[in-house]
């Protein structure tokens, strides 16, 4: 479980995150949603240690990310798997080498063990025949799947996904969403997904944190989000006519 307590982040004296208090549960897909510029990505980057928050604490199963020694800090980082918005695959490496990279750098596994683990991870994301291809030779959806395979290579306790559906068609988005959800349940990991895709919210969102202008504005489940009377949340959820019609019918069914 990850707990965030009174987190503040400033850029050039401007408050970007303000008093964020929330928790992300184990074995669940925890979604962070909000409009562009609301502070979702900054929160995610604080969680994975790329930004240091000015105030507050982030507890990884009780271990404060900002108040531990260098060794333990690195250990927490090695327990994380991160799927970046643009996949962030290493261009100079093949798909297989990308998946093997964390194993090579952070474990003492033999070449055979690494090959087996990479093959397992690639099969898990339904890419059994892409080992020797380079990132430039595969589609956007495949890149995301390779990035997921790389993220789970070290059996992470925490999985972070920054806008996993960006730039993907609806069908591929659904495949990626379900893959993330399945992996979360299968390995009982704490997954945090940063998104503004309402389809993802309804499909895989076990818990949802809505960020508005740098504040944690609302927290609940994907059922609760359809019935909330929070104006800002409703503005976000029912932003398009299509969403209004679709979610209204879902509401009625419930």
């Amino acid at each position: 479980m990850i707990e965030v307590k009174n987190l503040y982040k400033y850029f050039n004296n401007q408050e970007v995150l303000s008093d964020i208090c929330t928790q992300f549960e184990e074995g669940k897909t925890n979604l962070i949603i909000g409009q562009s510029g609301s502070g979702k990505t900054v929160l995610m980057k604080c969680l994975i240690g790329l930004y240091k928050a000015e105030k507050g604490s982030i507890l990884y199963n009780g271990r404060d990310l900002h108040n531990i020694g260098k060794k333990e800090y690195e250990l927490i980082l090695q327990e994380m798997g991160v799927l970046f918005q643009g996949s962030a695959l290493f261009d100079s490496m093949t798909v297989e080498e990308n998946v093997k990279f964390p194993l090579t750098m952070l474990t003492n596994q033999t070449e055979k063990e690494k090959d087996m683990r990479a093959s397992f991870c690639l099969e898990r994301v339904n890419l059994p025949n892409a080992h020797k291809l380079y990132p430039s030779q595969i589609s956007g959806g495949m890149k995301k799947r390779v990035a997921i395979a790389r993220a789970i290579a070290l059996n992470p306790r925490y999985l972070f996904c920054d806008e996993p559906n960006s730039g993907l068609d609806p069908k591929t988005s659904l495949v990626i969403d379900h893959l993330i959800h399945e992996i979360t349940a299968e390995y009982n990991i704490t997954t945090i997904v940063n998104t503004h895709d309402m389809n993802s919210v309804m499909e895989i969102g076990d818990t949802i944190s809505f960020i508005y202008q740098g504040h944690l504005w609302w927290r609940g489940t994907n059922n609760e989000i359809l019935h909330t009377d929070n104006v800002e949340v409703n503005d976000f959820v029912y932003a398009s006519k299509y969403a209004k019609a679709m979610f209204a019918s879902q509401k009625k069914q419930q």
């Binding site: 240690g49 790329l50 690195e74 980082l77 994380m80 991160v82 290493f90 261009d91 750098m105 952070l106």
Partner: protein, 246 residues
């Protein structure tokens, strides 16, 4: 003020760069790859430049010392001294600052803007050391070798112009390049090249690592890497010449 900030940030980054690599076996593999990419792939162009530089230098020197009071072999001597002390270490390093510097800055800059460096950092790996240290080590190993090759090819280019263009008799040229040889000059040239190699790789790595934004910024970082490393190289050329020969 900006220069001080640049130097300060550069020193801070270098402190991160010179941390022990996470995996020595992987570092050795990266080192070999970088020696090939940054060194071996520069060999052909360095050879071509050196041959022509040597030939032109010999022709021009001959024109300058055409006097009955100066023996003909002086041409060979002057060419050798110019090549060993300045032309090969400095001109070839300046050329490498353009070729290698832009390569390093654009490679690392692209990795930065496409979040590949963030990906390395979130694995708990020191990305500065992982990416920049093998490049610095590769340049420091391979550039002095390139300069030695360049010295030989420059002198060969000079001989070629004597033999086939009739600049001066080749025997006189040989006599000149064998006269008053000091091993210290070679030592000076190699130390200079080593320092230049460090400056080229580290400044270019720094420019790439600090890139923020997109493709435009990667281009700017690449240009900045060439300009800054060339400037650093010229500055240290004066300092080192004063220390070693002054």
């Amino acid at each position: 003020m900006k220069i001080l900030q640049f130097i300060g940030e550069y020193i801070l980054l270098m402190r991160k760069v010179f941390e022990k690599p996470k995996k020595m076996s992987y570092f050795r593999k990266q080192l070999a790859d970088n020696i090939y990419e940054l060194g071996i792939q520069s060999l052909l162009i360095v050879s071509v430049i050196s041959l022509f530089m040597g030939a032109v230098l010999t022709i021009q020197t001959t024109l300058q010392v055409e006097s009955p009071w100066i023996p003909t072999w002086t041409v060979g001597f002057v060419v050798r001294q110019s090549v060993v002390l300045e032309f090969s270490p400095t001109i070839i390093s300046l050329f490498l600052a353009g070729k290698i510097g832009s390569h390093i800055a654009s490679e690392i800059g692209t990795m930065k803007v496409t979040e590949q460096i963030d990906a390395i950092n979130t694995m708990g790996i020191n990305s500065a050391s992982h990416l920049i240290l093998p490049k610095i080590a590769a340049c420091c190993i391979v550039n002095p070798i390139l300069v030695i090759i360049s010295i030989f090819l420059c002198l060969f280019g000079g001989w070629f112009s004597c033999k086939f263009m009739g600049t001066i008799p080749p025997e006189q040229y040989f006599e000149g390049i064998m006269s008053f040889f000091r091993a210290y000059d070679i030592y000076y040239a190699l130390v200079k090249t080593f320092v230049f190699a460090f400056l080229i790789a580290s400044i270019s790595g720094f420019c790439g690592y600090k890139t923020e934004g997109g493709a435009l910024e990667v281009g700017k970082a690449s240009t900045q890497a060439v300009v800054n490393s060339s400037f650093g190289l010229l500055l240290f050329n004066v300092i080192l010449t004063q220390i070693f020969l002054g």
